[in-house]
Point group: C2
Chain length 292, copies 2
C-alpha cells in the first residue's frame, strides 16, 4: 500500500475555514494539517476577483513551500473566484469547497420527486460569482441527465423547469458569527430576514455556501423547516479529500495523531480566541507571517 | 493674505471616511480634496497596531507624493493607533478624528452640572486602544481643571468621581451600515442591544467614534434620549481643519468649487455605489491604486 506523509494545506481569508479544518480532522485524524488564515486582509467577500486571486496565490505559494501534498481552499469566495487560476499554477492538487457542496446538493435533489429546488446562501462575492449555480448545473447534467436548468434570484420564478437554483447573499452572517451572535432574538431575526424568500420556495436542500455559516446551523435549521436538508460544504469537502487520498495512495502511514500548525497574516490573539470556538477546543501553535 | 492652493488629503480604511469628507466639503467648498479608501484591506477595526501603522504609512506616503498641504486620518482606528507614528514621519500636518471629537465632548460636559458622563462608541480596535479616554482626560485637564477622571466599562461603576468616561464597542454597526440597514426593526434592535448599558448611564454626550456611525445617527438619536448630545467626530474634525487653515494662511485662494479625486486600493464599483450613499450624491473620478 502506498502512503504520503506530507501535510495537508488548508487556507481561508480568516477564521471561517476552521469549520472545514474541523471536519477534515474529524475523518482524517492521523494527517498533519497546516492551516493559513489571512487575518491581515480578511474578509475576501467584498473584494475584487483580481485581488482575491493575488492573495490566494501568495498563500498557496507559502503552503507549497511547506511541502504540502494537497491544498484545500477552505473559503467559498476564493473557491468561486480563484480556484481555476490556483489549479493552473499549483504543483499539488487543489480542492475547493464548492464542488463537493454542489455535488451533494444535486444528489439530495435527485431523491425529491417533482420540482427540484436547490438553495445556496453565501457572501455577496460568492453569490455574485454564480459559481454554485454553474457547478450545480454541471453536476446535474452529469448525474441526473437534467438538461434544462434555471438559475434565478428569488424574485423571478418560473415553475416550468426541472431544476431551479436559488442563490441568496447574507452579508451580515459573517460579522454576526465573529461577534458571537449578540443575542438569540437578534440572531433569529437576521436569519429570518435573509431566509424569508428562500423558505417560501421550500427547497430540497440549502447549501451553506460560506465556511462561517455552519456556526449558525442550529438557528438556520429552525428557520428552514424539516423538509429542507442543510448541506455543509465543509463536511462534503472533507469526504472528497478523504476519498481522493485513499484512491491515490496518499494517506499518511501509521496511527499517530496528526500535528496541527496554524499560520495567520496578522496578530494571533483574536485568531486563537475566536478560532477555539470554531473548532471547539483551544488552538495552539499559531505563527504570524508577514507577506509584505 | 496668505494662501495655499495644494489639495487636502483624506484617508480611511474604506468608505467610512466619506462622512468626514462630506463635512469638510460642506464648510470648505473651494478646497481641492483627495480621498483614499483602502478597500483592498478594509476593515482595520480587527487588525493589529503594527498592521494598521504599516497600511496607514503607505497611504500617507501616497498622498504626500500628491503634494497635499495637510492630511486627515478620517478613520478612528487608524487615528487611535497610528497617528503618533504618522506625525513623526509626515512632511505635512496630520489631523486625526479623535482629538476634535474628544475636545467637543469635554466642552459639552462642562455645561452639565453635577456628575459629568461622556460615552464613546466605536470599533473593537478603537475602544481597546483607549485613545478616546486618554484624549478626553487630557482635554479635561486642560479645559476644565478636572483632576480626577475615571475610565471604566459599563459593568464597573463608581459614582464618586467628577468625570466618567464610558467606552463601548459596537462591532456590528459597520457591516450594518455597509449592508444598508436590513430593515428598521433589526437595525433598532441591534442599536438597542449595544446601547442599553450606555443609555442607562444618561451621559451628557455620546461621541460617534467611528466614521460609519453618522449614517446611523437618526436611529441612535431615538435610542439615546434627548438629554444626551450626539457628537459627530467628522463635523468636529472639519471645524478644526478649517480653523487651522485660516489661522496659518493655508486656505485655497479664489471661489471656484474644489476638485474631488478618489483613490481606492480595490475595485471601484462598490465604492462608487455605496460611497454615493455616504456623501449623498454620485461619486466620480475614482481610480484604483495597487500598493503591492
Amino acid at each position: 500500500m502506498k502512503f504520503n506523509n506530507s501535510p495537508i494545506g488548508i487556507f481561508d481569508s480568516g477564521l471561517g475555514g476552521l469549520t472545514v479544518f474541523k471536519e477534515i480532522r474529524k475523518i482524517l485524524p492521523f494527517e498533519d494539517l497546516i492551516y493559513f488564515g489571512d487575518t491581515a486582509r480578511v474578509p475576501y467577500g467584498n473584494k475584487s476577483k483580481e485581488t482575491i486571486i493575488k492573495y490566494s496565490s501568495e498563500i498557496l505559494n507559502f503552503l507549497t513551500d511547506k511541502k504540502i501534498k494537497i491544498a484545500i481552499v477552505a473559503c467559498n469566495t476564493s473557491s468561486s473566484l480563484a480556484l481555476d487560476y490556483l489549479r493552473k499554477i499549483s504543483p499539488v492538487p487543489v480542492f475547493g469547497v464548492i464542488e463537493p457542496g454542489a455535488q451533494k446538493a444535486v444528489e439530495v435533489s435527485m431523491n425529491i420527486s417533482g420540482r427540484k429546488i436547490i438553495a445556496v446562501i453565501g457572501t455577496s462575492a460568492t453569490v455574485k460569482s454564480g459559481a454554485y449555480s454553474k457547478t450545480i448545473k454541471e453536476k446535474a447534467r452529469l448525474l441526473c441527465g437534467i438538461k434544462k436548468v434555471e438559475t434565478t434570484n428569488v424574485s423571478n420564478i418560473d415553475f416550468n423547469e426541472n431544476l431551479k437554483i436559488i442563490e441568496k447573499s447574507c452579508p451580515l452572517f459573517v460579522p454576526l458569527v465573529e461577534e458571537g451572535f449578540l443575542n438569540e432574538e437578534i440572531t433569529t431575526n437576521i436569519i429570518k430576514y435573509y431566509l424569508a424568500s428562500v423558505v417560501k420556495e421550500e427547497p430540497a436542500c440549502l447549501v451553506l455556501g460560506c465556511t462561517h455559516y455552519p456556526i449558525l446551523k442550529d438557528f438556520i435549521e429552525k428557520e428552514i423547516g424539516e423538509n429542507t436538508e442543510i448541506i455543509d460544504s465543509g463536511v462534503e469537502t472533507a469526504r472528497s479529500v478523504k476519498n481522493y487520498l485513499e484512491e491515490f495512495g496518499m494517506l499518511k502511514s501509521g496511527t499517530e495523531l496528526g500535528i496541527e500548525t496554524f499560520f495567520v497574516s496578522d496578530d494571533s490573539e483574536r485568531f486563537k480566541e475566536l478560532g477555539g470556538k470554531f473548532i471547539g477546543r483551544p488552538i495552539d501553535n499559531v505563527y504570524v507571517v508577514d507577506f509584505s
